[in-house]
Symmetry: C2
Subunit: 263 residues, 2 copies
Amino acid sequence: MHPAVTPSLRPRHQPPAPLPFPMRSSAAAHAIASPCATCRLRDICLPAGVHEEQLSAFDRLTLSRRKVAAGDCLYRQGDPFLFLYAVHSGSFKATLTRRDGIDQTTNLFLGGDILGLDGAANGAHASNAVALEDAEVCAIPYDQLTRLTAGNSATQHVIGRLMAREIVRDQRMMLMLGTMSAEQRVAGFLLNVARRMKARGYSGTEFHLRMTRAEIGSYLALKLETVSRTFRSLQDRRLVEVNQKHVRICDPEGLARLIGLNE
Amino acid sequence: MHPAVTPSLRPRHQPPAPLPFPMRSSAAAHAIASPCATCRLRDICLPAGVHEEQLSAFDRLTLSRRKVAAGDCLYRQGDPFLFLYAVHSGSFKATLTRRDGIDQTTNLFLGGDILGLDGAANGAHASNAVALEDAEVCAIPYDQLTRLTAGNSATQHVIGRLMAREIVRDQRMMLMLGTMSAEQRVAGFLLNVARRMKARGYSGTEFHLRMTRAEIGSYLALKLETVSRTFRSLQDRRLVEVNQKHVRICDPEGLARLIGLNE
DNA sequence: CGCTAAGTTGAGAGATGTCAAATATAGTGG
DNA sequence: CCACTATATTTGACATCTCTCAACTTAGCG
């Protein structure tokens, strides 16, 4: 009744003609006994918002773990949509590839984030998911998850909530791209990453960026030179310290002020 | 068991302090016998993708119709989320209000589109929905819809598909805002509206824009002057004819070329 | 130790924004 | 029906931000 439950060792099918995908793809999956209940990420991940005593509901999911090497692709635009993926370690970016080959980073996923929701629109992934560093994901069979949550009032709204959150995040991103200056975008980006790192038990003031300047620029709709210059400018004003990929937020309020009160 | 089913004649609660909402709000609702099966919008709206003979599944939804006057608000950021709304006539824009009061248009809804999905993130609407002209919506109790679709394999994925589509649309919008010039954004906007008008049985080459230049600008992250100048420029090149809000697309391929092949 | 990718910095160009003024349009009340 | 007002639109001149192109520096890696 349930579809095959191993993440498919997806055939390396050729991408649809007009979309060249330069990234390699890795697939290495094995089943896991996967008790969400004991996962360190349970408060952020799929079970977020589900009461402690109801976590066992997820035991019936046949999850499997899959490794993705830095730079490799978890899935690509057009791939059939069968699984959601929870980031278990490492991080990912989502990118959209235009017909002319240009692609833009549209999202950043850290531990506990769920990738692949856009695939539910029409059965095929609408974006690419690329590992920013060596990473592991839990593959969650979507159909099984749908059935599971539908039959349980405690988990009834899990999928809807996940998707709606993604919608809200995307809308905020549009607001950012539409109304904010380069400086504000960079400040907002740093605060966003900081907040999420903190929520995951890391320092909220000091962290290692996994993205290159070009990737950050692609995410914020800026050129890499502009990102670099903006970092410098923020550093000159003692708001942050940036050494290559290492970031320290010196004045979070100052950064927040940049975003909240300008214009 | 089901929550109250009339769209609430929502109390005109004061908006949360930091968010000034200049729009008025109208509420006039009445129950409808609502056979989605016979609605002229059934192929676009909620039932889209559900087989003809399964449409009766929606008969058990207690829908109600609500009128919203031009310029009025269907819901606002922070309002409790109880209903999705299907546009039955007229059109809406979604806007996001920043803490400093600036707001940006993030979406445009035509007949058959579903509003309010972002509310499922945390039980409160995350955006404002403003009528661009006198409009009517069908209010769909979300909780009831969830239950209904969960128990029916033919409609199991309706909500997920709706939300995922919104995610895909938002991602495309980000791509547009991030990588396209003013001219490309305007061209893309016109083609998008044209396509959707056509899908709704109107002309795909000639239509009446309901948004002002400022609203279009806000949607495309451009200033109204830029929108105006871009319209002129496209008109000078015989790609479109624009008279105030009346638009005629003279050369759809030309517009498409603008988007697909540049840079 | 050299090679390559990533990052920094500068100078100048170009796209879009800003400000201001002139029209045009729609709605309102007499 | 008309005058009047507020709103929307167009257009121009100029400012500014970000991009482009190019050179150079640094870091990471075999």
